[in-house]
Protein backbone atom coordinates (compact mmCIF):
# COMPACT_ATOMS: atom_id res chain seq x y z
CA UNK A 1 0.00 0.00 0.00
CA UNK A 2 3.04 2.28 0.31
CA UNK A 3 2.78 3.07 -3.42
CA UNK A 4 -0.20 5.37 -2.85
CA UNK A 5 1.96 8.47 -2.64
CA UNK A 6 2.11 11.56 -4.81
CA UNK A 7 5.20 13.65 -5.24
CA UNK A 8 5.74 16.70 -7.40
CA UNK A 9 9.09 18.41 -7.86
CA UNK A 10 9.71 21.87 -9.34
CA UNK A 11 6.44 21.74 -11.28
CA UNK A 12 6.14 24.61 -13.75
CA UNK A 13 3.47 25.50 -16.26
CA UNK A 14 3.13 28.51 -18.54
CA UNK A 15 -0.07 29.13 -20.50
CA UNK A 16 0.24 29.71 -24.26
CA UNK A 17 -0.42 33.44 -23.68
CA UNK A 18 2.73 33.60 -21.53
CA UNK A 19 1.04 33.60 -18.09
CA UNK A 20 3.11 31.66 -15.61
CA UNK A 21 0.56 29.58 -13.70
CA UNK A 22 2.91 27.32 -11.73
CA UNK A 23 6.39 28.38 -10.67
CA UNK A 24 8.34 25.44 -9.33
CA UNK A 25 5.93 23.68 -6.97
CA UNK A 26 7.28 20.83 -4.85
CA UNK A 27 5.58 18.69 -2.19
CA UNK A 28 4.81 15.07 -1.34
CA UNK A 29 1.63 13.38 -0.14
CA UNK A 30 2.05 10.17 1.83
CA UNK A 31 -0.26 7.18 1.73
CA UNK A 32 -3.68 7.94 3.23
CA UNK A 33 -2.94 11.62 3.75
CA UNK A 34 -5.69 14.21 3.21
CA UNK A 35 -4.36 17.55 2.04
CA UNK A 36 -6.25 20.75 1.35
CA UNK A 37 -4.99 23.09 -1.35
CA UNK A 38 -6.11 26.68 -0.83
CA UNK A 39 -5.38 29.95 -2.52
CA UNK A 40 -7.04 32.94 -4.10
CA UNK A 41 -8.51 32.88 -7.60
CA UNK A 42 -5.72 32.47 -10.13
CA UNK A 43 -3.31 31.05 -7.54
CA UNK A 44 -2.78 27.95 -9.70
CA UNK A 45 -4.86 25.35 -7.83
CA UNK A 46 -6.86 24.04 -10.79
CA UNK A 47 -3.87 24.20 -13.16
CA UNK A 48 -1.83 22.15 -10.71
CA UNK A 49 -4.56 19.50 -10.50
CA UNK A 50 -4.82 19.37 -14.30
CA UNK A 51 -1.05 18.92 -14.50
CA UNK A 52 -1.22 16.01 -12.04
CA UNK A 53 -3.61 14.16 -14.38
CA UNK A 54 -1.59 15.06 -17.46
CA UNK A 55 -4.41 17.21 -18.83
CA UNK A 56 -1.93 20.03 -19.25
CA UNK A 57 1.68 19.16 -19.98
CA UNK A 58 4.02 20.79 -17.44
CA UNK A 59 6.76 22.93 -18.93
CA UNK A 60 9.15 21.73 -16.24
CA UNK A 61 9.49 19.51 -13.19
CA UNK A 62 8.12 16.05 -12.49
CA UNK A 63 5.01 14.33 -11.18
CA UNK A 64 5.49 10.98 -9.47
CA UNK A 65 2.36 8.95 -8.72
CA UNK A 66 3.17 5.90 -6.62
CA UNK A 67 6.58 5.44 -8.22
CA UNK A 68 5.48 6.12 -11.80
CA UNK A 69 6.74 9.33 -13.36
CA UNK A 70 4.23 11.22 -15.48
CA UNK A 71 5.10 11.06 -19.17
CA UNK A 72 3.24 10.42 -22.41
CA UNK A 73 3.87 6.70 -22.15
CA UNK A 74 2.64 6.47 -18.54
CA UNK A 75 -0.45 8.65 -18.90
CA UNK A 76 -2.81 5.67 -18.89
CA UNK A 77 -1.24 4.17 -15.78
CA UNK A 78 -1.21 7.52 -13.96
CA UNK A 79 -4.86 8.17 -14.80
CA UNK A 80 -5.83 4.70 -13.59
CA UNK A 81 -4.27 5.42 -10.21
CA UNK A 82 -5.42 9.01 -9.89
CA UNK A 83 -9.15 9.64 -9.54
CA UNK A 84 -9.95 13.17 -10.69
CA UNK A 85 -13.13 14.95 -9.63
CA UNK A 86 -13.93 17.99 -11.76
CA UNK A 87 -15.34 21.21 -10.36
CA UNK A 88 -18.51 21.08 -12.44
CA UNK A 89 -20.28 17.69 -12.31
CA UNK A 90 -21.86 18.53 -15.69
CA UNK A 91 -18.40 18.07 -17.20
CA UNK A 92 -17.91 14.77 -15.44
CA UNK A 93 -21.30 13.23 -16.21
CA UNK A 94 -21.40 12.90 -19.98
CA UNK A 95 -23.12 9.56 -20.47
CA UNK A 96 -26.90 9.21 -20.89
CA UNK A 97 -27.63 7.36 -17.65
CA UNK A 98 -26.02 7.21 -14.23
CA UNK A 99 -25.16 3.51 -14.67
CA UNK A 100 -23.46 4.14 -18.02
CA UNK A 101 -21.48 7.01 -16.59
CA UNK A 102 -20.20 5.12 -13.58
CA UNK A 103 -19.44 2.12 -15.81
CA UNK A 104 -17.47 4.25 -18.30
CA UNK A 105 -14.13 4.00 -16.45
CA UNK A 106 -14.29 0.30 -15.49
CA UNK A 107 -15.30 -0.62 -19.06
CA UNK A 108 -12.27 1.25 -20.37
CA UNK A 109 -10.15 -0.78 -17.96
CA UNK A 110 -11.24 -3.89 -19.84
CA UNK A 111 -13.13 -5.53 -16.98
CA UNK A 112 -15.76 -8.20 -17.54
CA UNK A 113 -19.47 -7.29 -17.56
CA UNK A 114 -19.99 -8.88 -14.14
CA UNK A 115 -17.06 -7.03 -12.58
CA UNK A 116 -18.19 -3.74 -14.10
CA UNK A 117 -21.73 -4.16 -12.74
CA UNK A 118 -20.38 -4.98 -9.30
CA UNK A 119 -18.04 -2.00 -9.32
CA UNK A 120 -20.80 0.35 -10.48
CA UNK A 121 -23.25 -0.72 -7.80
CA UNK A 122 -20.56 -0.71 -5.08
CA UNK A 123 -19.51 2.81 -6.06
CA UNK A 124 -23.09 4.07 -6.26
CA UNK A 125 -24.06 2.47 -2.96
CA UNK A 126 -20.89 3.89 -1.43
CA UNK A 127 -22.10 7.42 -2.12
CA UNK A 128 -25.73 6.61 -1.31
CA UNK A 129 -26.86 6.85 -4.92
CA UNK A 130 -27.71 3.22 -5.71
CA UNK A 131 -31.33 4.15 -6.44
CA UNK A 132 -30.23 6.56 -9.17
CA UNK A 133 -28.61 3.93 -11.41
CA UNK A 134 -31.20 4.09 -14.19
CA UNK A 135 -31.81 7.85 -14.07
CA UNK A 136 -30.69 10.15 -16.92
CA UNK A 137 -27.71 12.18 -15.71
CA UNK A 138 -29.15 15.51 -16.83
CA UNK A 139 -32.23 15.09 -14.64
CA UNK A 140 -30.37 14.85 -11.30
CA UNK A 141 -30.25 17.54 -8.62
CA UNK A 142 -26.96 19.31 -7.86
CA UNK A 143 -26.24 17.13 -4.81
CA UNK A 144 -27.10 13.94 -6.71
CA UNK A 145 -24.86 14.98 -9.60
CA UNK A 146 -21.97 15.54 -7.20
CA UNK A 147 -22.53 12.16 -5.49
CA UNK A 148 -22.69 10.35 -8.86
CA UNK A 149 -19.59 12.23 -10.08
CA UNK A 150 -17.72 10.90 -7.04
CA UNK A 151 -19.03 7.41 -7.81
CA UNK A 152 -17.66 7.66 -11.38
CA UNK A 153 -14.22 8.17 -9.86
CA UNK A 154 -14.58 5.56 -7.11
CA UNK A 155 -15.66 2.86 -9.57
CA UNK A 156 -12.14 2.94 -11.02
CA UNK A 157 -10.67 2.06 -7.59
CA UNK A 158 -8.11 4.88 -7.67
CA UNK A 159 -5.18 5.00 -5.24
CA UNK A 160 -5.32 8.76 -4.97
CA UNK A 161 -8.30 11.12 -5.13
CA UNK A 162 -7.85 14.62 -6.52
CA UNK A 163 -10.85 16.92 -6.15
CA UNK A 164 -11.37 20.39 -7.58
CA UNK A 165 -13.90 22.44 -5.58
CA UNK A 166 -16.04 19.45 -4.56
CA UNK A 167 -18.44 21.56 -2.47
CA UNK A 168 -19.11 24.29 -5.03
CA UNK A 169 -22.74 24.70 -6.01
CA UNK A 170 -24.07 22.52 -3.19
CA UNK A 171 -26.71 23.58 -0.73
CA UNK A 172 -25.80 23.38 3.00
CA UNK A 173 -27.27 19.89 3.41
CA UNK A 174 -25.58 18.63 0.25
CA UNK A 175 -22.30 20.09 1.46
CA UNK A 176 -22.71 18.43 4.87
CA UNK A 177 -23.45 15.07 3.24
CA UNK A 178 -20.40 15.45 1.00
CA UNK A 179 -18.15 16.20 3.97
CA UNK A 180 -19.56 13.15 5.76
CA UNK A 181 -18.84 11.05 2.69
CA UNK A 182 -15.30 12.31 2.16
CA UNK A 183 -14.50 11.84 5.85
CA UNK A 184 -15.02 8.10 5.46
CA UNK A 185 -12.58 7.76 2.56
CA UNK A 186 -9.23 6.22 3.30
CA UNK A 187 -7.62 7.15 -0.03
CA UNK A 188 -4.71 9.51 -0.31
CA UNK A 189 -6.62 12.64 -1.23
CA UNK A 190 -6.10 16.22 -2.25
CA UNK A 191 -8.90 18.81 -2.14
CA UNK A 192 -8.50 22.16 -3.90
CA UNK A 193 -11.16 24.52 -2.61
CA UNK A 194 -12.19 27.94 -1.35
CA UNK A 195 -14.30 26.24 1.33
CA UNK A 196 -11.82 26.60 4.18
CA UNK A 197 -14.28 25.24 6.74
CA UNK A 198 -14.42 22.02 4.77
CA UNK A 199 -10.62 21.88 4.66
CA UNK A 200 -10.54 22.32 8.43
CA UNK A 201 -12.87 19.36 8.85
CA UNK A 202 -11.33 17.04 6.28
CA UNK A 203 -7.64 17.77 5.92
CA UNK A 204 -5.08 17.70 8.73
CA UNK A 205 -2.57 19.24 6.32
CA UNK A 206 -2.93 22.30 4.07
CA UNK A 207 -0.92 23.70 1.21
CA UNK A 208 -1.28 27.39 0.36
CA UNK A 209 -0.64 28.57 -3.17
CA UNK A 210 -0.16 32.18 -4.19
CA UNK A 211 0.55 33.36 -7.72
CA UNK A 212 1.77 29.93 -8.78
CA UNK A 213 4.12 29.35 -5.88
CA UNK A 214 3.80 27.28 -2.73
CA UNK A 215 3.92 29.74 0.17
CA UNK A 216 3.00 27.46 3.06
CA UNK A 217 2.65 23.75 3.78
CA UNK A 218 1.78 22.51 7.25
CA UNK A 219 -0.88 21.54 9.77
CA UNK A 220 -4.22 23.07 8.79
CA UNK A 221 -4.91 24.63 12.19
CA UNK A 222 -1.55 26.41 12.21
CA UNK A 223 -2.01 27.71 8.67
CA UNK A 224 -5.47 29.10 9.38
CA UNK A 225 -4.26 30.84 12.54
CA UNK A 226 -1.52 32.68 10.66
CA UNK A 227 -3.36 35.90 9.85
CA UNK A 228 -0.39 37.49 8.09
CA UNK A 229 -0.07 34.54 5.72
CA UNK A 230 -3.79 34.45 5.01
CA UNK A 231 -3.94 38.16 4.32
CA UNK A 232 -0.89 38.02 2.07
CA UNK A 233 -2.55 35.26 0.05
CA UNK A 234 -5.93 37.07 -0.13
CA UNK A 235 -7.57 34.53 2.18
CA UNK A 236 -9.53 34.71 5.42
CA UNK A 237 -9.74 32.28 8.32
CA UNK A 238 -12.58 29.72 8.08
CA UNK A 239 -15.93 31.05 9.28
CA UNK A 240 -15.94 28.71 12.27
CA UNK A 241 -12.65 30.25 13.44
CA UNK A 242 -14.17 33.70 13.07
CA UNK A 243 -17.05 32.72 15.33
CA UNK A 244 -19.48 32.64 12.36
CA UNK A 245 -19.86 28.88 12.12
CA UNK A 246 -22.13 28.02 9.12
Amino acid sequence: MSHHFLEIKDLCYTYPDGTEALKGLSFRLEHGEAVGVVGANGAGKSTMLLALAGLVIPSGGSVNVGGTLLSKSTLGEIRRRLGFLFQDPEDQLFMPTVFDDVAFGPLNQGLSAREVSERVMDALNGVGAGRLADRPTHRLSGGEKRAVAIATVLSMLPDILVMDEPSSGLDPRGRRLLIGLLKNFTHTRMVATHDLDMVLELCPRTIVLHEGTLVADGPTANIFEDMDLLERCHLEPPLCMQGKCP
Binding site: L55, R79, L82, P96, D100, F104, D134
Partner: protein, 263 residues
Protein backbone atom coordinates in the same frame (compact mmCIF):
# COMPACT_ATOMS: atom_id res chain seq x y z
CA UNK B 1 -37.45 32.48 -24.84
CA UNK B 2 -38.88 29.44 -26.62
CA UNK B 3 -38.24 26.12 -24.95
CA UNK B 4 -36.65 23.17 -26.71
CA UNK B 5 -39.58 20.73 -26.92
CA UNK B 6 -39.01 17.67 -24.81
CA UNK B 7 -39.87 14.76 -27.06
CA UNK B 8 -39.13 12.10 -24.48
CA UNK B 9 -42.40 12.85 -22.77
CA UNK B 10 -43.32 9.40 -21.55
CA UNK B 11 -41.97 7.85 -18.39
CA UNK B 12 -39.61 5.03 -19.33
CA UNK B 13 -41.23 1.66 -18.86
CA UNK B 14 -44.66 3.18 -18.54
CA UNK B 15 -46.30 1.45 -21.50
CA UNK B 16 -46.22 -1.73 -23.55
CA UNK B 17 -44.73 0.17 -26.48
CA UNK B 18 -41.86 1.27 -24.26
CA UNK B 19 -40.98 -2.31 -23.34
CA UNK B 20 -40.36 -3.22 -26.98
CA UNK B 21 -36.76 -3.64 -28.10
CA UNK B 22 -35.65 -0.33 -29.68
CA UNK B 23 -34.31 -2.23 -32.69
CA UNK B 24 -37.81 -3.51 -33.42
CA UNK B 25 -39.16 0.03 -33.20
CA UNK B 26 -36.45 1.42 -35.47
CA UNK B 27 -37.05 -1.30 -38.07
CA UNK B 28 -40.83 -0.86 -38.07
CA UNK B 29 -40.59 2.95 -38.15
CA UNK B 30 -38.12 2.78 -41.02
CA UNK B 31 -40.35 0.32 -42.90
CA UNK B 32 -43.34 2.60 -42.29
CA UNK B 33 -41.51 5.64 -43.69
CA UNK B 34 -40.41 3.62 -46.73
CA UNK B 35 -43.95 2.30 -47.26
CA UNK B 36 -45.48 5.79 -46.94
CA UNK B 37 -43.00 7.41 -49.29
CA UNK B 38 -43.23 4.64 -51.90
CA UNK B 39 -46.74 5.61 -53.01
CA UNK B 40 -47.19 7.49 -56.28
CA UNK B 41 -47.52 11.26 -56.20
CA UNK B 42 -51.26 11.25 -56.95
CA UNK B 43 -52.13 8.60 -54.34
CA UNK B 44 -54.28 9.84 -51.50
CA UNK B 45 -57.00 7.34 -50.64
CA UNK B 46 -54.61 4.36 -50.73
CA UNK B 47 -52.46 6.00 -48.06
CA UNK B 48 -55.30 6.34 -45.57
CA UNK B 49 -55.08 2.75 -44.16
CA UNK B 50 -51.56 3.59 -42.98
CA UNK B 51 -53.05 5.94 -40.39
CA UNK B 52 -53.74 2.77 -38.46
CA UNK B 53 -50.06 2.58 -37.44
CA UNK B 54 -49.71 5.91 -35.56
CA UNK B 55 -53.20 5.50 -34.11
CA UNK B 56 -52.41 1.99 -32.83
CA UNK B 57 -49.05 3.04 -31.34
CA UNK B 58 -50.69 6.04 -29.75
CA UNK B 59 -53.40 3.86 -28.23
CA UNK B 60 -50.93 1.30 -26.87
CA UNK B 61 -48.39 3.79 -25.56
CA UNK B 62 -50.86 6.28 -24.16
CA UNK B 63 -49.30 9.25 -25.95
CA UNK B 64 -51.92 12.04 -25.93
CA UNK B 65 -53.21 13.01 -29.41
CA UNK B 66 -52.66 16.66 -28.65
CA UNK B 67 -49.06 16.10 -27.69
CA UNK B 68 -48.37 14.08 -30.85
CA UNK B 69 -50.11 16.62 -33.09
CA UNK B 70 -48.31 19.54 -31.46
CA UNK B 71 -44.91 18.01 -32.10
CA UNK B 72 -45.75 16.72 -35.58
CA UNK B 73 -47.10 20.07 -36.72
CA UNK B 74 -43.75 21.69 -35.89
CA UNK B 75 -42.59 20.18 -39.19
CA UNK B 76 -45.60 21.49 -41.13
CA UNK B 77 -43.96 24.67 -42.53
CA UNK B 78 -41.13 22.61 -44.05
CA UNK B 79 -43.58 20.03 -45.40
CA UNK B 80 -45.78 22.69 -46.99
CA UNK B 81 -42.74 24.27 -48.58
CA UNK B 82 -41.80 20.99 -50.30
CA UNK B 83 -45.07 20.77 -52.25
CA UNK B 84 -45.80 24.48 -52.44
CA UNK B 85 -45.13 24.88 -56.16
CA UNK B 86 -46.90 21.72 -57.35
CA UNK B 87 -50.30 23.45 -57.86
CA UNK B 88 -48.62 26.08 -60.07
CA UNK B 89 -46.72 23.71 -62.33
CA UNK B 90 -49.04 20.72 -62.60
CA UNK B 91 -52.30 22.18 -63.89
CA UNK B 92 -53.74 19.06 -65.52
CA UNK B 93 -57.25 18.40 -64.22
CA UNK B 94 -57.28 15.04 -62.52
CA UNK B 95 -60.76 14.75 -61.08
CA UNK B 96 -64.01 16.57 -60.58
CA UNK B 97 -65.50 16.81 -57.13
CA UNK B 98 -68.99 18.28 -56.82
CA UNK B 99 -68.40 20.42 -59.86
CA UNK B 100 -64.95 21.60 -58.82
CA UNK B 101 -61.97 20.70 -61.01
CA UNK B 102 -59.05 19.42 -58.98
CA UNK B 103 -55.68 19.65 -60.72
CA UNK B 104 -52.87 17.10 -60.38
CA UNK B 105 -50.79 19.75 -58.60
CA UNK B 106 -53.28 20.07 -55.74
CA UNK B 107 -53.64 16.29 -55.45
CA UNK B 108 -49.87 15.77 -55.31
CA UNK B 109 -49.53 18.67 -52.84
CA UNK B 110 -52.11 17.06 -50.59
CA UNK B 111 -50.49 13.64 -51.01
CA UNK B 112 -47.02 14.98 -50.11
CA UNK B 113 -48.40 16.75 -47.04
CA UNK B 114 -50.28 13.66 -45.90
CA UNK B 115 -47.31 11.33 -46.41
CA UNK B 116 -44.87 13.69 -44.73
CA UNK B 117 -47.13 14.17 -41.72
CA UNK B 118 -47.47 10.40 -41.39
CA UNK B 119 -43.70 9.90 -41.59
CA UNK B 120 -42.99 12.68 -39.09
CA UNK B 121 -45.67 11.40 -36.69
CA UNK B 122 -44.12 7.93 -36.73
CA UNK B 123 -40.70 9.38 -35.93
CA UNK B 124 -42.16 11.52 -33.14
CA UNK B 125 -43.93 8.48 -31.69
CA UNK B 126 -40.69 6.51 -31.80
CA UNK B 127 -38.86 9.21 -29.84
CA UNK B 128 -41.73 9.80 -27.42
CA UNK B 129 -42.09 6.14 -26.49
CA UNK B 130 -38.39 5.30 -26.16
CA UNK B 131 -35.79 6.79 -23.80
CA UNK B 132 -33.14 8.52 -25.90
CA UNK B 133 -30.27 6.37 -24.63
CA UNK B 134 -32.17 3.21 -25.66
CA UNK B 135 -32.83 4.70 -29.09
CA UNK B 136 -29.10 5.26 -29.51
CA UNK B 137 -28.31 1.80 -28.17
CA UNK B 138 -30.75 0.35 -30.70
CA UNK B 139 -29.00 2.26 -33.49
CA UNK B 140 -25.63 0.98 -32.33
CA UNK B 141 -26.87 -2.61 -32.29
CA UNK B 142 -28.21 -2.06 -35.81
CA UNK B 143 -24.62 -1.32 -36.86
CA UNK B 144 -25.01 2.43 -37.33
CA UNK B 145 -21.44 3.87 -37.06
CA UNK B 146 -20.54 4.26 -33.41
CA UNK B 147 -19.16 7.77 -33.83
CA UNK B 148 -22.52 8.95 -35.13
CA UNK B 149 -24.39 7.35 -32.22
CA UNK B 150 -21.95 8.90 -29.73
CA UNK B 151 -22.48 12.30 -31.35
CA UNK B 152 -26.23 11.87 -31.00
CA UNK B 153 -25.89 10.91 -27.34
CA UNK B 154 -23.71 13.92 -26.60
CA UNK B 155 -26.00 16.23 -28.53
CA UNK B 156 -28.94 15.12 -26.41
CA UNK B 157 -26.93 15.26 -23.18
CA UNK B 158 -25.65 18.81 -23.69
CA UNK B 159 -28.55 20.33 -25.64
CA UNK B 160 -30.22 21.32 -22.37
CA UNK B 161 -27.09 22.91 -20.95
CA UNK B 162 -26.68 24.96 -24.11
CA UNK B 163 -30.31 26.02 -23.87
CA UNK B 164 -29.82 27.07 -20.24
CA UNK B 165 -26.69 29.01 -21.12
CA UNK B 166 -28.48 30.78 -23.97
CA UNK B 167 -31.40 31.62 -21.70
CA UNK B 168 -29.06 33.12 -19.10
CA UNK B 169 -27.37 35.29 -21.74
CA UNK B 170 -30.67 36.48 -23.17
CA UNK B 171 -31.98 37.24 -19.68
CA UNK B 172 -28.83 39.22 -18.85
CA UNK B 173 -29.31 41.17 -22.11
CA UNK B 174 -32.97 41.90 -21.36
CA UNK B 175 -32.23 43.08 -17.82
CA UNK B 176 -29.88 45.71 -19.21
CA UNK B 177 -32.12 46.79 -22.07
CA UNK B 178 -34.97 49.20 -22.30
CA UNK B 179 -38.62 48.28 -22.88
CA UNK B 180 -40.75 45.33 -21.90
CA UNK B 181 -39.73 43.13 -24.79
CA UNK B 182 -36.30 44.29 -25.85
CA UNK B 183 -35.05 43.07 -29.20
CA UNK B 184 -31.54 41.80 -29.62
CA UNK B 185 -29.68 43.82 -32.26
CA UNK B 186 -28.05 41.81 -35.00
CA UNK B 187 -24.54 42.88 -33.95
CA UNK B 188 -25.25 41.92 -30.31
CA UNK B 189 -26.74 38.60 -31.40
CA UNK B 190 -23.59 37.91 -33.40
CA UNK B 191 -21.30 38.45 -30.44
CA UNK B 192 -23.63 36.45 -28.18
CA UNK B 193 -23.55 33.50 -30.55
CA UNK B 194 -19.77 33.79 -30.77
CA UNK B 195 -19.52 33.81 -26.98
CA UNK B 196 -21.83 30.82 -26.79
CA UNK B 197 -19.57 28.97 -29.22
CA UNK B 198 -16.47 29.79 -27.14
CA UNK B 199 -18.21 28.58 -23.97
CA UNK B 200 -19.30 25.42 -25.76
CA UNK B 201 -15.71 24.82 -26.87
CA UNK B 202 -14.45 25.35 -23.31
CA UNK B 203 -16.98 22.85 -22.02
CA UNK B 204 -16.10 20.39 -24.76
CA UNK B 205 -12.44 20.64 -23.71
CA UNK B 206 -13.35 19.97 -20.08
CA UNK B 207 -15.58 17.03 -21.00
CA UNK B 208 -12.83 15.58 -23.16
CA UNK B 209 -10.48 15.92 -20.18
CA UNK B 210 -13.01 14.15 -17.95
CA UNK B 211 -13.22 11.34 -20.50
CA UNK B 212 -9.44 11.05 -20.80
CA UNK B 213 -8.87 10.73 -17.06
CA UNK B 214 -11.30 7.82 -17.06
CA UNK B 215 -9.43 5.93 -19.72
CA UNK B 216 -11.17 7.10 -22.93
CA UNK B 217 -9.33 5.72 -25.93
CA UNK B 218 -11.66 6.79 -28.73
CA UNK B 219 -14.34 4.17 -28.15
CA UNK B 220 -17.39 4.67 -25.94
CA UNK B 221 -18.25 1.32 -24.39
CA UNK B 222 -21.65 0.47 -22.99
CA UNK B 223 -22.82 -2.31 -20.76
CA UNK B 224 -26.51 -2.60 -21.38
CA UNK B 225 -27.64 -5.65 -23.25
CA UNK B 226 -30.81 -5.40 -25.29
CA UNK B 227 -33.17 -8.32 -25.10
CA UNK B 228 -34.83 -9.15 -28.42
CA UNK B 229 -37.83 -11.35 -27.79
CA UNK B 230 -39.08 -13.26 -30.84
CA UNK B 231 -42.59 -13.56 -29.47
CA UNK B 232 -42.83 -9.87 -28.64
CA UNK B 233 -40.43 -7.92 -30.86
CA UNK B 234 -40.37 -10.44 -33.73
CA UNK B 235 -44.16 -10.55 -33.83
CA UNK B 236 -44.31 -6.74 -33.68
CA UNK B 237 -42.03 -6.47 -36.72
CA UNK B 238 -43.74 -9.24 -38.72
CA UNK B 239 -47.28 -8.04 -38.12
CA UNK B 240 -46.58 -4.46 -39.07
CA UNK B 241 -44.45 -5.45 -42.08
CA UNK B 242 -47.32 -7.61 -43.32
CA UNK B 243 -49.75 -4.74 -42.88
CA UNK B 244 -47.46 -2.24 -44.65
CA UNK B 245 -47.03 -4.63 -47.60
CA UNK B 246 -50.76 -5.23 -47.72
CA UNK B 247 -51.49 -1.50 -47.69
CA UNK B 248 -48.84 -0.90 -50.33
CA UNK B 249 -49.86 -3.59 -52.85
CA UNK B 250 -53.61 -3.98 -52.23
CA UNK B 251 -55.94 -1.05 -52.64
CA UNK B 252 -57.50 -1.52 -49.22
CA UNK B 253 -60.09 1.30 -49.35
CA UNK B 254 -61.45 0.01 -52.72
CA UNK B 255 -61.37 -3.59 -51.51
CA UNK B 256 -63.11 -2.65 -48.28
CA UNK B 257 -65.74 -0.64 -50.17
CA UNK B 258 -66.32 -3.56 -52.57
CA UNK B 259 -66.59 -5.97 -49.70
CA UNK B 260 -69.10 -3.79 -47.89
CA UNK B 261 -71.19 -3.13 -51.01
CA UNK B 262 -71.06 -6.83 -51.96
CA UNK B 263 -72.21 -7.78 -48.51
Amino acid sequence: MPQIPSFSAMTPGSSRADRLDPRAKWIVTFAFVVAVSSFGKYEVSRITPLFLYPVAIMAVSGVPVRSLLGKTLLALPFILFVGLFNPFFDREVLLNLWGYSITGGWVSFFSITLRSLLAVSSAVLLVMTTPFDRLCLGLEKLRVPRILVTQLNFLHRYMFLLRDETQRMVRAHHLRSRGNKPKIALSTAGSMIGLLLLRALDRATRIHGAMLVRGFDGEVRLLRPLCFSCSRDGAFILCWMFFFLLARFVNLPVWLYGWMVGK
